[in-house]
């Protein structure tokens, strides 16, 4: 450990010496996940075609155009294929752009990869860390400059993450990128990353802010209550973020500008595996070293990472719609062939044989040398090179790679079809199907939705539970047995034909070849999340509902109280001169205040904590203390009403106990006379409308409140004065408490 520390300090000295180094980049050509299985059993993810160009070409072309001069490509699984591709693709021949390979066979995570790169000692300064499946057109110069300037001021700013703002809609992540929602707390002034949470890690969507973050504000650190439900914490952090203008709802672009320390940190912490889950969070939690992570927000440029089939679909469509310009099909940014853009986003490569009656719809890419038969319809799809498509074929939203044969009358909807697949006549692919290399689908066979078909057997010990991704990440590199099978299969025709015989009675209809992989542990209902097919409307609705439920502050089931719906009309009348939206705000605020109070009451949270939370809530909604007391008073009285009681006297006792418990809350919140008057009026209103039970004992409770010093003498007297000119109906309670007021006045005079 000590030696390593020394090493890191030596490295940082070097960094200063070599500050004028060319910009370097580390490209991880392995995602260390199994999301693209079964395709990735045969070909590395970075070489999968994205709109007919291997993914890695997008990343390399972007790095080259963004001014990176030296790229280290780290490859692990299928490293031979990656190297062969790079040899043949001409990336080595680019001027001012060197590409070097770092090969490893036993790395199972990004952490291992970075540790290996550190050992090689090839990085001499700040570097860009991306994975080989990143598509972007952003300019790095600005971000790198920002990073360097920050470094000069603060040596602990080791990393700058590139983020993109998204609409604060919780479904976007799900429906666009197929990933779970991400919460990032970012300081608006310094752009420092304070908190990074992926929703998927917390089943109930909870966020807990780190101690160090809370320590910035001592009053808030009180609130680090382990007893509080995770739900409660989520709500709290939301409020906190709103108050301090901390932005949430961002998309992580997975592009990082790192200093050399990052590599040494990975070496020091040998248990860091995942870049985000371990490294980023580790740094955020660790306040000993004091390393900081900052963010750089991009606005008009594009950056995204292909994480699963859904983001593959989304990013393909973004490319076709030219968001990634100049990395679009009709610009030759890599070794791709010339493609012409026609109307409505149709891209056609040369030498396409298209039947006159074939209809090619909008946003479609057709690769070189593809033949399309009569009356076929293709829309929103990408067709690779050298494909043969028969007549009466319907292809919607699908990704068909190279040299695929689709016979007459097939129907493909939202499917991924890899190289060399043969789909025999009249077969149907339902949404979300993935056909891996060289699979044969038999005549008339209907491949069920979301199924994955491969020539390989599904690994039996498979466990693709995302949480355990790294526990079995050795399966990220192929199991030797499977690899052997693959080599035999690809290389040896005899063995292939023998297997073909086995498949004559296969799962895929007459003449089919391949195995349908059974759905993984997550179960079928999870498949829709990551597939290329659009989310079915019912699932989307369900997902939306789930998210809303998570966010909904009122837990209907837990609380016997109805949500304060009935209170709304009254309060609306009260401040009817307000604008409409402020009305909505008020209702929201009251709901939230009520829920907060009830939770506090249930969980026995200390009054001090509740005061704090109420204060933050009040600030976030920009309400006065009066609004706050009003909003709290109602649930408090409800609470009293809920507890069992038979007579008015018992009710009064209940009220007394509740008030005695919470009086401190009002002492703090309702300091001003105006607030106290507000409180009386609220009470009055309640007695008239929602909780008529209190009407008979109004004066008693008023006295109780006076006694507890919640309501001052002056407030009561002024309330009385105000009510003097009011209608008779409004004066019911004034009359009821006439005696008490009289007594107050007398006492007042006596004092004088």
């Amino acid at each position: 450990m000590g030696a390593q520390k020394k090493g890191s300090s030596r490295v940082s000295e070097d960094a200063e010496e070599l500050a004028r180094n060319p910009l370097q980049a580390i490209l991880l050509a392995d995602s260390f996940t199994t999301k693209f299985r079964p395709i990735t059993l045969e070909r590395p993810k970075v070489l999968l075609p994205l709109v007919n160009v291997p993914m890695i070409d997008y990343t390399l072309a972007w790095l080259e155009s963004a001014g990176v001069e030296e790229v280290f490509i780290f490859c692990c699984a299928h490293s031979r294929q990656v190297m062969d591709y790079l040899e043949s693709s001409g990336w080595h021949k680019q001027p001012n752009f060197t590409v070097a390979m770092i090969e490893s066979n036993n790395s199972i995570s990004a952490g291992d990869a970075l540790r290996l790169i550190y050992e090689r000692n090839v990085i001499h300064g700040d570097f860009v860390l991306v994975s080989g499946d990143t598509v972007s057109n952003m300019s790095l110069t600005h971000a790198v400059k920002e990073h360097k300037e920050r470094r000069k001021k603060d040596n602990n700013a080791v990393m700058t993450m590139v983020i993109k703002k998204s609409k604060p809609s919780p479904v976007i992540h799900q429906s666009r990128l197929g990933t779970d929602e991400l919460f990032m707390a970012i300081d608006p002034d310094t752009k420092q990353l304070l908190c990074y949470e992926e929703r998927g890690e917390h089943p109930r969507g909870a966020i807990s802010l780190e101690n160090s973050l809370l320590a910035d504000n001592p009053s808030i650190s009180l609130h680090n209550d382990k007893q509080a439900s995770s739900f409660y914490m989520l709500r709290f952090s939301f409020l906190y973020m709103q108050i301090y203008g901390i932005s949430i709802f961002n998309i992580d672009c997975y592009i990082d500008i790192c200093s050399q320390e990052v590599l040494s940190l990975f070496t020091d912490n040998f248990d860091y595996q995942h870049l985000r889950r371990h490294f980023v969070k580790g740094l955020l939690v660790d306040d000993i070293m004091g390393y900081k992570i900052f963010t750089h927000e991009i606005h008009s440029s594009y950056a995204a990472r292909i994480d699963n089939y859904r983001s593959y679909d989304t990013i393909s469509k973004d490319i076709i719609q030219r968001w990634t310009y100049p990395f679009v099909p009709d610009v030759r940014f890599s070794a791709n062939c010339t493609t012409k853009l026609e109307r409505e986003g149709m891209y056609k490569a040369p030498e396409i044989q298209q039947s006159r009656s074939a209809h090619i719809g909008p946003f479609t890419v057709i690769g070189k040398g593809t033949r399309i038969g009569d009356d076929s319809r293709i829309t929103h799809s990408v067709i690779g090179e050298g494909c043969t498509i028969g007549s009466n074929v319907s292809i919607v939203g699908s990704y068909i790679w190279n040299n695929v044969t689709i016979e007459d009358g097939c129907e493909l909807r939202h499917a991924i079809v890899c190289d060399g697949v043969i789909i025999k006549a009249a077969a149907t692919l339902e949404p979300g199907v993935v056909l891996s290399f060289k699979v044969v689908i038999g005549r008339g066979f209907v491949v069920p939705a979301y199924s994955k078909v491969s020539l390989f057997q599904q690994p039996t010990a498979q466990d693709s539970d995302e949480e355990l991704e790294y526990a079995d990440s050795s399966s990220g590199t192929i199991d030797p047995s499977i690899a052997d099978a693959g080599n035999k299969l690809n290389g040896d025709i005899v063995s292939e034909s023998s297997q073909m015989q086995d498949w004559s009675t296969s799962q895929l209809g007459p003449g089919g070849a391949g195995f349908i992989w059974s759905a993984c542990d997550g179960g079928c209902e999870e498949e829709w999340r990551h597939s290329v097919a659009p989310i079915p409307t019912d699932q989307l609705a369900k997902a939306l509902l789930a998210i809303e439920e998570d966010l909904e502050i009122v837990k209907v089931s837990d609380s016997a109280l109805t949500p304060s719906g009935e209170l709304e009309p009254g309060s609306d009348d009260d401040d009817s001169d307000n604008m409409d939206d402020s009305n909505v705000d008020t209702v929201d605020f009251e709901k939230e205040a009520e829920a907060t109070f009830l939770r506090a009451a249930q969980d026995n949270i200390a009054v001090d904590d509740l005061i704090l939370e109420m204060n933050s809530l009040r600030l976030s909604y920009n309400k006065s203390a009066g609004d706050c007391t009003g909003a709290l008073f109602y649930p408090m009285m409800k609470l009293a009403l809920e507890s069992p009681h038979n007579t008015a006297v018992e009710l009064q006792k209940n009220v007394a106990s509740v008030v005695s418990k919470w009086h401190k809350l009002f002492e703090v919140l309702a300091k001003e006379v105006d607030d106290q008057i507000e409180l009386i009026m609220k009470f009055e209103e309640m007695c008239l409308e929602s909780t008529k039970e209190f009407a008979p004992i109004f004066s008693q409770i008023l006295y109780l409140l006076y006694e507890r010093e919640i309501i001052g003498e002056e407030a009561i007297l002024r309330w009385d004065d105000e009510r003097k000119d009011a209608d008779e109906s409004d004066r019911v309670f004034v009359k009821q408490s006439e005696k008490f007021i009289q007594w107050l006045r007398e006492a007042d005079e006596e004092e004088d």
């Binding site: 680019q94 001027p95 429906s175 606005h299 594009y302 719609q321 030219r322």
Partner: protein, 435 residues
């Protein structure tokens, strides 16, 4: 010649990635690249011009394919090819004339004429000019200049390009050197022309901009800026309306520049052009390329300005360096020989437009919910189209001002005849055939 290949690759890269902006910069860099190609090219003993033409053509093909939208590349390639042909021709004819002359002088030896000194000079020049004339139809300028009558001079060579090199010159070495030298000289001149074309155009400003006029322009063009400033320097006082040129808003930059140079400037939105046009005396705009038929490819929004100007009978003046004048031909695959033809701007075969990123129009983050592919039927309802260029038909253009003077749109094809040789019209044809 690995270094040439490296240069070519670098330039190709830039073109592919759309890193060079503006037709002037592209034209200049192309010319410079071709110059180094020519200077490094080894020339065989026979048919030097042919070798050079092949080399330039091969590189030209690559360049044109790299960015088919940037028409200046193709233009410069054709110009250089034309230069090679011309230089070769003039050398050949000069040599032939010399030969003729020597035989003539041999014959005339007996006569011992004292007027020998005059005749050869005249005849050599005449032969060269005549040969040049056979290469292209007589240009208007030549007719107007009243060039001497060459018709009597017999054709000394089979007209055309490649075969010209096979002449029976005595000292080939010196000729080779001379040919290359001449070509490079001429290319240098071309580069010079490209760099100074702004100035040449700007010189004419005073003739077009008058006192107290209101000029409207769209977007930003360096030529327009220089043009306006030249008029300002000549103490003309006038006002300029600048339409901002959405979505790239280069009009803002132009307005800034104009104000910095002391011109009274008003910035308007593109959509306000029609409302303002009635107050405008003249529209002066830059262009991306000029078609053979006199049509213009210009930044998006230009057609709207042209139509507004036409409606109010406001002169619509296009400034264009001659390197922007291009040839338009029907796609090589459908047409046998090269021919001039009017451009059909929506003909997919010659769709000369570039669709840029929608992010210039709107922020991706703000609209991420409209571009949601995951819900519904997988296709978002929002499509964003961001074309770069517009086509202005020739009838909407009142005048072209090029570095050679003002021209009517209908005259543009003559200009082409001056600059390009008919053999080079389809640089790409071989490429298309070989594909």
């Amino acid at each position: 010649m690995p270094d040439v290949q490296a240069l070519v690759n670098e330039f190709l890269n830039k073109l592919k990635k759309r890193k060079i902006e503006g037709s002037q910069a592209t034209a200049k860099q192309t010319a410079e690249l071709l110059r180094s190609v020519i200077s490094q090219q080894r020339v065989p003993r026979t048919n030097q011009a042919g070798a050079l033409i092949d080399a330039v053509r091969a590189i030209g093909e690559q360049l044109i394919v790299a960015n088919p939208i940037e028409l200046a590349v193709g233009n410069i390639v054709r110009r250089v090819l034309h230069i090679i042909r011309e230089e070769d021709l003039s050398l050949t004819t000069a040599a032939v004339a010399e030969l003729n002359l020597s035989t003539v002088s041999d014959d005339d030896d007996d006569g011992g004429g004292g007027d020998q000194d005059d005749r050869p000079v005249l005849s050599a020049a005449a032969v060269a000019a005549a040969a040049r004339n056979t290469l292209r139809p007589p240009s208007l300028q030549m007719l107007l200049e009243g060039a001497p009558d060459f018709v009597a001079v017999p054709r000394s060579s089979s007209s055309g390009g490649d075969s010209e090199g096979k002449s029976k010159s005595m000292d080939r070495n010196s000729r080779t050197r001379k040919l290359k030298h001449d070509i490079i000289e001429a290319v240098n001149e071309l580069i010079q022309d490209i760099t100074t074309c702004h100035e040449l155009i700007a010189e004419q400003a005073v003739e077009h901009i008058h006192q107290n006029e209101v000029i409207l322009t769209l977007g930003s063009s360096k030529t327009v800026l220089e043009f306006l400033c030249a008029a300002k320097e000549k103490k003309r006082s006038f006002r300029v309306f600048v339409a901002e040129g959405a979505p790239r808003y280069q009009g803002h930059l132009l307005a800034k520049e104009l104000v910095a140079r002391g011109l009274q400037t008003t910035l308007i939105t593109d959509s306000a052009v029609f409302a303002m046009i009635s107050r405008v005396n003249m529209v002066i705009v830059g262009s991306h390329a000029v078609m053979a038929n006199g049509g213009v490819i210009a930044p998006v929004g230009m057609n709207m300005v042209a139509l507004a100007a036409q409606k109010h009978a406001v002169p619509f003046v296009v400034l264009a360096g001659s390197h922007k004048v291009i040839l338009v031909y029907i796609g090589a695959s459908t047409c046998r020989g090269p021919m001039l033809c009017p451009l059909y701007p929506h003909n997919p075969e010659v769709l000369l437009n570039e669709l840029r990123s929608p992010s210039e129009l709107l922020d991706f983050g703000e609209f991420s919910d409209c571009l949601d592919f995951g819900s519904g039927d997988g296709s978002p309802l929002l499509h964003v189209v961001n074309p770069t260029f517009d086509y202005v038909p020739p009838k909407a253009v009142s005048l072209f001002i090029t570095d050679t003077g003002g021209h009517n749109p209908s005259y543009m094809y003559r200009l082409i005849a001056d600059y390009y040789s008919a053999d080079d019209l389809v640089v790409q044809r071989r490429h298309a055939a070989g594909n």
